[in-house]
Amino acid sequence: MWMSVLIVVVVVVMFTAEAIPLLKKGNIKEFRVFSVLLLFGTSLSIALSLKVAIPSPIDWIEFIYKPLTDWLQTTLK
């Protein structure tokens, strides 16, 4: 719980330090990309801190490449 609060505080600091100047300078596109990425990062971190099971991208990789991997393992054994 405290971890999530800490994350939010850090994110707010990041946002004010980085995004507000972008907005002021009129870099709308940068601001949007930054905000979306930050939102994504924040939700991931909070999910992590609340011990929600996040699927590992490695699992997807392993799933996609499974046939190839198996083939390699068997031929080289």
Binding site: V11, M14, E18, A19, L22, N27, K29, E30, V33, F34, L37, L38, F40, G41, T42, L44, S45, L48, I54, P55, S56, P57, I58, I61, E62, Y65, K66, L68, T69, L72, Q73, T75, L76, K77
Partner: protein, 362 residues
């Protein structure tokens, strides 16, 4: 993009540190398992293949010498296909960055400071990487130039200190290995050592001030890095023996534990640890730089710096979730990583090359 340029020497040093990178600690164990006492031969063969791959990267880099890999992808494959490939490539660099961060934290918390949580190491390391990337390529290339002599000094010191423990019969009999395990170990070596330099195409040849010399520097750097790895692999086998090397997670670190000179110089495995941290720092920073700059080019924004913080946050999260434990990470590295890495390290440049050739003809 900014018109920053690094010197050829800086590029060579970056290639060396990048290629030695994560490999230094884990590679001896991985290939000793397959090739036994002939691991060093596999490594030498692997370096040979790596040089061929560097040739490929050089050719791909010279398709458009004034573009980064992302721009080349978009130009050669067209806008839509290019974007999809770019996203896949960024996925590759980001996940791999996360994995390196996982290695750092895992190594520190299992081998050196068991009480500290892995997350703490990862966050600290990620912060320094973000600082480095924000300062820009020029700055971290210069830092590499300053740190590299220290790396070499530590490496030579390490070799000298470990030399009393060498038992040459450990690598005998030579060349007992069958073809298949040999092929497998060479493949493992390449997968760790020489599929990653595709990421270097984000800075090469666009950001190097002399493209012609840079091609040579790419070879030179890979070759020197290869020699360093061959030396480390040979040392682990002749000092620890095949069995121990194959069963340890970090054989070269265990190797350093054997150092004992007199009664006062002992347990200086920290030398090894610091060498490894230095190299993995540069490997990670280049991967992260590639991801950030690539992302900026994907969404078409000029300054990549605003992306460093959120993407840094994401790789920290990735570093925690990539592998549930070290066993799975070994499994992944010996299994899916090979085709996954090859997709980007071998298939992507080949496709780019062929499509570019075909397009040029028509």
């Amino acid at each position: 993009m900014e018109t920053i340029k690094i010197s050829v020497r800086q590029f060579t040093i970056l290639v060396i540190l990048f290629s030695v990178g994560s490999s230094m600690l884990i590679i001896p164990g991985i290939i000793a398992k397959e090739a036994k006492q002939d691991a060093w031969i596999a490594a030498i063969l692997g370096v040979g293949v790596a040089l061929l791959l560097v040739k490929l990267y050089n050719v791909v880099g010279s398709i458009e010498p004034n573009m980064t890999l992302i721009e080349i992808i978009e130009k050669v494959l067209g806008k839509w296909v290019g974007k999809i490939v770019t996203i896949a490539f960024l996925f590759f660099t980001l996940v791999t960055s996360g994995e390196f961060l996982y290695f750092v934290g895992n190594f520190m918390s299992t081998e050196i400071m068991p009480e500290t949580p892995i997350l703490a190491f990862n966050i600290l390391f990620a912060i320094v990487v973000i600082i480095g990337v924000r300062y820009g390529l020029e700055t971290f290339a210069r830092s590499a130039e300053i740190i590299f002599p220290w790396f070499i000094v530590l490496f030579v010191l390490f070799i000298i200190l470990i030399s009393p423990n060498v038992e040459i019969q450990n690598i005998q009999p030579v060349l007992e290995i069958k073809t298949k395990p040999m092929l497998h170990s060479v493949l493992l070596f390449i997968s760790v050592f020489s599929l990653s330099p595709i990421v270097l195409l984000m800075i090469f040849p666009i950001a190097v001030n002399d493209a012609q010399q840079a091609q040579k520097a790419f070879f030179k750097g890979t070759f020197i890095a290869g020699i360093i790895l061959v030396i480390i692999i040979t040392l682990t086998i002749v000092v620890l023996g095949t069995e121990a090397t194959a069963h340890l997670m970090y054989p070269s670190y265990a190797l350093a534990k054997r150092i004992e000179i007199g009664n006062f110089l002992q347990r200086i495995e920290v030398i090894m640890a610091s060498m490894w941290i230095i190299t993995i720092f540069f490997k990670l920073i280049i991967y992260f730089y590639a991801s950030v700059v690539g992302f900026a080019q994907l969404v078409n924004i000029k300054d990549y710096r605003p992306l460093t913080l959120p993407l840094g946050m994401i790789i920290v999260v990735l570093s925690i979730i990539v592998h549930p434990n070290i066993v799975e990470s070994i499994q992944y590295n010996n299994g899916s990583w090979i085709p996954f890495g090859a997709t980007f390290g071998l298939l992507l440049p080949l496709v780019l090359l062929i499509v570019a050739k075909v397009r040029k003809r028509t």
